[in-house]
């Protein structure tokens, strides 16, 4: 009888230990070793220009072979900032970038004039006579690769972000403008090749202990965060691979205020 009681006590203790451990993991999902995932809305401060000073959120497009600090940048005649070298961004219907979920491109994505209809993150903005905008998508529109939803991690005021799903749309064209960059999945494939590769990946991971293939490359976005005020900045550069602007580079600067909220439902 005593043995049975001890055994039950031991089992209960083990269960309690496991339970505590899982509970701890759950509570640590957003905070790990000082790193804190910021889940919610990064509300954008509208881009503005006063003289030569640009504030808020903006975008530049660097020409091939150019330098990120000195250019040459594409001159957008529709923008008043820095002689058109910068294009000011205005927050979209959602107020800005949501992490932990996607803000996908609508269907249809463009109107008859090629203007982007994606209006959640930023408001469509004129760029060379045609409005461009931004969305984040589970399957990247240009590379056709599955990408993670936007993730921003705060480490004592320093931000690192996975914005691989960040995509710009303009004039019936889509350009991945994320950081890190998704690995392109648009190369020609023989019939059945995709299924064969998927089966091989499964086998190699399950039986040969091969590491899963990386779906992104390069570094992510970086920035700053003030936990007291919620103000943030996020910056990154994104080389355009493929399409009509192959070799050009996008320079993105977002700033605004972070508003914590729940994780967006999957596939939203």
């Amino acid at each position: 009888m005593r043995r049975a009681a001890l055994a039950i006590a031991a089992v209960l203790a083990a269960c309690a230990a496991v339970g505590c451990s899982s509970a701890k993991k759950t509570s640590d999902a957003a905070t790990t070793g000082g790193r804190h995932e910021l889940i919610g809305l990064f509300r954008l401060t509208p881009g503005a220009v006063s003289g030569t000073k640009i504030t808020g959120s903006w975008f530049r497009m660097l020409q091939p072979g150019g330098n990120a600090t000195t250019g040459p940048y594409m001159i957008n005649a529709d923008s008043p900032a820095d002689g058109g070298q910068a294009t000011l961004l205005q927050p979209g219907a959602s107020g800005g970038l949501r992490t932990g979920g996607y803000q996908s491109q609508p269907t249809p994505a463009f109107d008859g004039g090629g203007n982007s209809l994606a209006g959640a993150i930023t408001a469509p903005t004129k760029f060379f006579g045609v409005k461009f905008s931004v969305s984040t998508n589970e399957t990247d529109l240009q590379t056709k690769s599955k990408v993670a939803p936007p993730t921003v991690v705060d480490n004592k005021g320093k931000l690192t972000a996975d914005l691989s799903s960040w995509a710009a749309s303009w004039n019936n064209q889509n350009f991945n403008q994320g950081a890190p960059k998704p690995v392109s999945n648009t190369q020609a494939q023989a019939p059945g090749q995709e299924q064969a590769e998927r089966a091989w990946d499964w086998v190699s991971q399950k039986w040969l202990e091969a590491a899963p293939k990386s779906t992104v490359r390069g570094g992510g976005a970086t920035g700053t965060y003030d936990a007291k005020t919620g103000t943030f900045t996020l910056e990154w550069t994104s080389h355009i691979d493929g399409g009509p602007f192959n070799g050009f580079t996008g320079l993105w600067h977002l700033e605004g205020t972070f508003e914590a909220s729940g994780r967006a439902p999957a596939g939203a």
């Binding site: 001159i75 529709d78 045609v130 004039n171 019936n172 020609a188 023989a190």
Partner: protein, 334 residues
């Protein structure tokens, strides 16, 4: 008196002649011609391994992808629209020159327009040349695109190779009955392989494909894409000035209409140009892969694409002949 008591007569001893030996007809020996069976085995192995080692699957898939992606640009209305775009740009630059002259616009006031006016002739020539080449390649493109099941041809070759290997193995090591059915299978597969180029229009299609490659070669390069991008930068900057600062310059009559036409049409023009440049850029790799396929047999003086259908016909005829020659048969009595 009991019957058993009747005295029995002794048995008569028969003296029979010895029986003649039983003889059976001796079957003629069955011959298994080894050489054709081994040759069939080798042919099968080459047809299975060759496409895999030579990257035929990926090269053909690349060609198919390039053809599919160019489809929207090869439509007659798309080509006509590109010509209209060029005409609109051409008229606009003439109009801008007129307005500059009429209004004595100083050089340097609109640097983007100045650059465009200086380069307009060269940009127009390059764009027209590109469009001419694309248009000229259109009939060959159509014939190439009409090849049925282009990306499945390597599978056909490998499957045929496997059938040949199976048939050869049965002919070398299997029973006589199975040998007949194996030969039937190989002959059937051979006919399918040899006939396929004619049924799928592969013969005409690959000749057209070779000419299409030749036509595309002049613009399917990174240098061409870079040049088109440079031209695009000049154009967008100029149109941007036309749509903003240049509006302050008084404009009347036909020149004003021509300037308005290019500004209003710019979303369509830039979309067409961006789409075409993007398609060229994204298919340079596919074009090169198809080019590799064509140069595969260049060392023996034959275009790979042109020779390909005849390779299938030749392999089919050879396989059928070898399998029939390898069929086990009785040797004639001497």
């Amino acid at each position: 008196m009991l019957a058993s008591e009747v005295p029995s007569e002794p048995l008569v001893v028969l003296d029979l002649p010895p029986a003649p030996p039983v003889t059976r007809a001796v079957a003629a020996p069955v011959g298994r011609p080894k050489a054709p069976a081994v040759a069939l085995l080798a042919l099968g192995a080459v047809l299975v391994v060759g496409p895999i080692v030579g990257g035929l699957f990926s090269k053909v898939a690349s060609g198919k992808q390039m053809i599919d992606r160019f489809a929207p640009h090869m439509e007659a209305d798309a080509l006509a629209r590109y010509r209209t775009d060029l005409a609109t740009m051409r008229q606009a630059v003439g109009a801008v020159d007129t307005i500059y002259e009429q209004q004595s616009v100083a050089a340097g006031r609109f640097p983007g327009l100045d650059a465009y006016r200086a380069q307009a002739g060269a940009i127009d020539r390059r764009a027209s040349t590109l469009l001419d080449r694309v248009s000229r390649a259109e009939p060959d493109y159509r014939r190439t695109a009409a090849i049925g099941g282009l990306d499945r041809i390597p599978f056909l070759v490998v499957l045929y190779g496997m059938a040949a290997i199976y048939g050869a193995c049965v002919l070398l090591f299997g029973g006589r009955r199975r040998a007949r059915s194996a030969v039937a299978l190989v002959v059937l597969a051979s006919v399918a392989l040899a006939v396929y180029p004619f049924v799928s229009d592969l013969n005409r299609g690959t000749r057209a494909g070779q000419r299409m490659l030749h036509s595309f070669a002049s613009f399917m390069t990174h240098g061409e894409v870079r040049q088109l991008q440079d031209d695009f930068v000049v154009l967008v900057t100029a149109v941007g000035e036309l749509d903003t600062g240049f509006r302050a310059v008084p404009q009347t009559g036909p020149p004003a209409d021509d300037v308005a036409a290019v500004v209003d049409g710019w979303p369509r023009i830039s979309s067409d140009l961006a789409s075409l440049v993007g398609t060229i850029n994204d298919n340079i790799g596919n074009f090169n892969a198809l080019g590799d396929l064509d140069t595969l047999t260049r060392s023996v003086g034959v275009s790979g694409l042109q020779g390909f259908p005849w390779l299938l016909v030749g392999a089919g005829v050879l396989g059928a002949a070898l399998s029939v020659a390898a069929l086990p048969r009785r040797r004639k009595e001497t």
